[in-house]
Structure formats: C-alpha cells, structure tokens
C-alpha cells in the first residue's frame, strides 16, 4: 500500500471505528435478543443440518455439529464481507461525495463489523466443544486466535476489490452469490474432508485456501492439534495475493470511483 494512503487510513481511524460501532449498535439496537440472535442463528441452523448430515454420512452428531458450525461462522463472515463489502462505497456515497477520505476505510468498516459478529458467533462453537468434547482443550487453542487477523487481512482487500468493481458494475452482487455458491460446493465447509478424499478429490482440499483457513480453527478446536505451517502459509498467501490485487486495482480506479456513485 502506498505510504500516503496507509497514513490517510490511519488518520481516519476515529471515523471508521465509530462507523463500525454505529453498525453494530444499529444491528443490535432495541433488544437484548438482538445480540443473542448472532449466537442463536448459526447454532440453530447447525443443529438442523447436523441432524440430517450425520444420518447421511453416518457421523456422530457430537463431532459433526461443531465441524459444521466452525465452517458456518467463517463462511458467513466471508459471504457478508464480500456481498455487504462490495456495496460499501455505494452505501457510503454521501460521505464520499463530501469529504476526501481513502475509500478503503468504508470496506474496512464492513469487514470489522463482520469480524465482531464472527467473534460473537464463535462463542457458540467454543461452548459446544468445551461441553461435548472437553478432551480437545489445550494450548493449541491459542493458535486458533490467528484466524481473526488472517480474516481481516483477507476480507479487507477482498471487499475493497469487489467494491471497486461493484460500484462500476451494479449487478455484480448477483454474480457474486453464484460464485460463492459454487465455492461452497467444492470446499470442505460443511462436507467433511474425508468425503472429498474418498472421492479422489484431494486437490479440492490440498490446494484450497478455504480448507487451510478453516484448519486454523478446526485443528485446535476439533482435533486438539496445532495447525500446520501449510495452513498458515496458504492463508497468508491468499491475504498477500488479494492485497496486491487491491493495490493494483485501487491505484488505477480509486480516484474515478466518485463518477460512478
């Protein structure tokens, strides 16, 4: 990222931090139940899904449910960050028209909001594992914390690139929904890794950054093991690649975005 741009983002930190807080407050405004929904919704869906899937795949629900839940909270973050993220500039058009600020602060706002939602939703996962599989608890759990900075480093550039394109091509979010649906089918998010491997689809696991990213949470929480260096390398690699794309695209189109709003 060019120096001037990075420092402009830093100088605007009060602004995007408060916008994030405003987003969270309006999401939960009104009732205590509001904040609870963030927890209840993934846990409820997981219960329903794992009831069905554990029968189909003959897996004990005790282990399969947290597998699905871990996939769901991370995937929900990915979808929210990209679909809501792609609309970040359009949503912030009134600010963009009035005051010159780096546009990436508006995608940062969306991604940070989703990251807070993710951390709350993952409480459900932690409680589940502690109750159902307490033998997994250990030092390796610390390694799972890396998921938060990694998701920020992946989600922010991803949302920013998508926002550049979605501001120009207003029907992009529809296409995006399709792409994410496809990615969901070919990644071990709800389906077990063994299902892919037994079908001879090893490449969909080993060369899939989504798998490696999920392993950072799943290895410690569900297997009591440390994530491998490949897991971190793939996740970081994805973050670096997306950041490069964001910088290249941004340096060309950031200034002209105001004409498309």
């Amino acid at each position: 990222m060019p120096d001037g741009y990075a420092s402009a983002v830093w100088n605007a930190r009060y602004f995007w931090l408060h916008l994030t807080l405003a987003d969270l407050r309006s999401r939960w405004r009104g009732s205590f139940f509001g904040i609870l929904w963030t927890l209840i919704q993934p846990v409820g869906t997981t219960l329903l899904l794992s009831l069905v899937f554990s029968k189909i795949f003959h897996t004990p629900i005790r282990e399969y449910a947290p597998y699905i839940l871990s996939g769901m909270v991370v995937w929900d973050f990915a979808i929210a960050s990209s679909t809501a993220g792609s609309l970040s500039f359009v949503q912030a058009d009134a600010y963009i028209r009035q005051c010159k600020q780096p546009l990436a602060i508006y995608t940062l706002r969306t991604v940070l909001t989703n990251l807070v939602v993710l951390s709350l939703a993952s409480m459900g996962l932690i409680v589940w594992v502690l109750v159902a599989m307490p033998e997994m608890f250990g030092w390796s759990w610390l390694a799972a914390l890396a998921i938060f900075p990694l998701l920020l480093l992946i989600g922010w550039p991803l949302a920013t690139v998508l926002a550049y394109f979605a501001t120009r091509f207003r029907d992009l979010p529809y296409a995006l929904a399709l792409v994410f649906q496809a990615m969901w089918f070919v990644s071990p998010i709800y389906f077990k890794v063994e299902t892919f491997r037994s079908g001879g689809l090893n490449a969909l696991v080993d060369y899939n950054p989504i798998y490696h990213l999920l392993q950072i949470v799943r290895a410690p929480l569900l297997q009591g093991a440390w994530p491998t260096w490949e897991n971190y390398a793939w996740s970081l690699g994805l973050a670096v690649a997306l950041s490069l794309i964001a910088v290249i695209v941004g340096s060309r189109v950031e200034k002209t975005m105001i004409f498309y709003l």
Partner: protein, 252 residues
C-alpha cells in the same frame, strides 16, 4: 505570510461517460456481442477546460456562471473530490468545504451521535468533538430531537444539524457552494452570521453563488465560467458586467 495558496495550471476535467451509461455486467456483455447496435452515443463531458488560476492567502474569490458552467465542478476539484484529467493542481492549507449539506447521516443513530460521526469524517478527534458538542446542539436548536434517530428528522431539521456541524470548525481554505439559503427565516439570519465569522477566520474563500449582492459584499475577485472555460478573472464588478453580457448574448 503563511503558505496557503491555490495554484492551477492547464487543469482539465472530464466526467467519464461510463458513469452515466448503463453500468452492469449485462450491458458490458451485450456491447461486446452487439458492437454496432443502435444506441445513442454518450461522450465524456469536458467539464473544465484549460483552467489557469493563482490564488494567494487573503483572497476572497467568487465564482459566477450559468447552471452547468462548471462552478460546482471547480469547487469539488479544488476539494480533491474530482480527479483532474490533465494539468497541475496545488492546494496548500486545510480545506473545509460545504456542499450537499443534508447528506451523510447515519439514519439509525441519534443526532448527538451523528455530530460525532460527521466531525470525525472531517478529520477531527472524538475529544475535540465532545468539547464542541454543546455549542453545535445549541446552534442547531432542535430541542429534544437531538437525542432521536436522524430518520425521524424532517429535511429542514437535517439541514440545520448538518449546517451546525459543518460550520463549527473553520479551515484555511473555505469552499462554499450556495449554502447560504438554508432553513427557515430565523435560522437564515443565524446561519448568515455564522458563515461570515467562518469566512473571517479563513485565509482563502471560494464561493459559488447566483446571489450578486452577497458576491459583491463578500468577495474581492471573481471568476466567470462559461461552458467549462474560465472566461473572465478580475474584479467582482467587472465580472458581474461580463456575466450579464453573456446572459444577453444568450438571449439574442
């Protein structure tokens, strides 16, 4: 003498035509497959043409011209919102601009919270905004509504609040776009006083207005725009005469 100044050399600005064409992936694809389909050609708009201006600290500039002559584009270009397509643009000093006043609120947040957000957008610190809050609340004079969500406000109330916030802090370079006509009559008087004190504290003023009276009283130099070109740069009185001449020329 401080270094606040504006320097423009051969500045051109184009609005890209893509911005107002059909902007979808579908349109992109159909253009690729039917390159010669019957369409109305939309061209880039050449909104500012070869502008050369030097403005030094202490100058009060008025912008004159018909609707669409390029006044607002000129202001937004100075503010750095619109990218120039060629030339050189130098603006030194803290810019404070007042355009599109009623825009940019978080509808679910209260008026008080929005005071904070808007201040932070302008690059101020939370601490500073908390110190300014009571003064802004008093000026906007919205009573108990200040603690209600913005979505319950009428358009006039939103403008009052936006005006109170945006004018609470000054800058070296003040850019104003027709903002003097806000709110009801009482508020107008208050607003005018506040703008005047803001202007007093600024180093450079650039004001776009159709109101000849305020132009004469506030400015000591005027720029006249016509179809994106700068056609006159000089005293306010001479500029108004030249402006009237373009009006009568257009009529005959």
């Amino acid at each position: 003498m401080n270094g606040n100044r504006i320097s423009l050399q051969n500045v051109n600005l184009h609005y890209s035509s893509v911005g107002f064409r059909d902007r979808s992936l579908k349109a992109l694809l159909s253009r690729a497959f039917h390159p010669r389909a019957n369409r109305v050609e939309v061209h880039d708009v050449h909104a500012l043409k070869d502008i050369n201006v030097e403005i030094r600290a202490g100058e009060r500039i008025g912008l004159l011209g018909h609707n669409g002559a390029g006044k607002t584009t000129f202001l937004k270009m100075l503010a750095g919102l619109y990218p120039i397509s060629s030339g050189r643009r130098v603006v030194e000093g803290k810019i404070r601009s007042l355009f599109d006043l009623s825009l940019g609120f978080e509808p679910d947040a209260s008026g008080r919270e929005n005071i904070l957000y808007r201040g932070l957008l302008l690059g101020l610190t939370p601490k500073y905004m908390r110190a300014m809050e009571s003064e802004i609340v008093a000026f906007a004079d919205l009573g108990e509504f200040i603690d209600y969500p913005i979505k319950t406000y009428s358009a006039g109330m939103q403008v009052r609040l936006a005006f109170a916030i945006s004018t609470a802090v000054g800058g070296d370079v003040l850019l104003l776009d027709e903002v003097i006509g806000v709110g009801d009559e009482d508020f107008m008087k208050k607003a005018k006083r506040r703008i005047l004190s803001l202007i007093d504290r600024s180093e450079i003023l650039v004001l776009a207005t159709h109101d000849v009276a305020s132009l004469t009283s506030l400015c000591d130099r005027a720029l006249l725009f016509h179809h994106g070109s700068l056609i006159f740069d000089g005293t306010v009185k001479a500029a108004i005469d030249a402006y009237r001449a373009t009006q009568t020329a257009a009529m005959s």
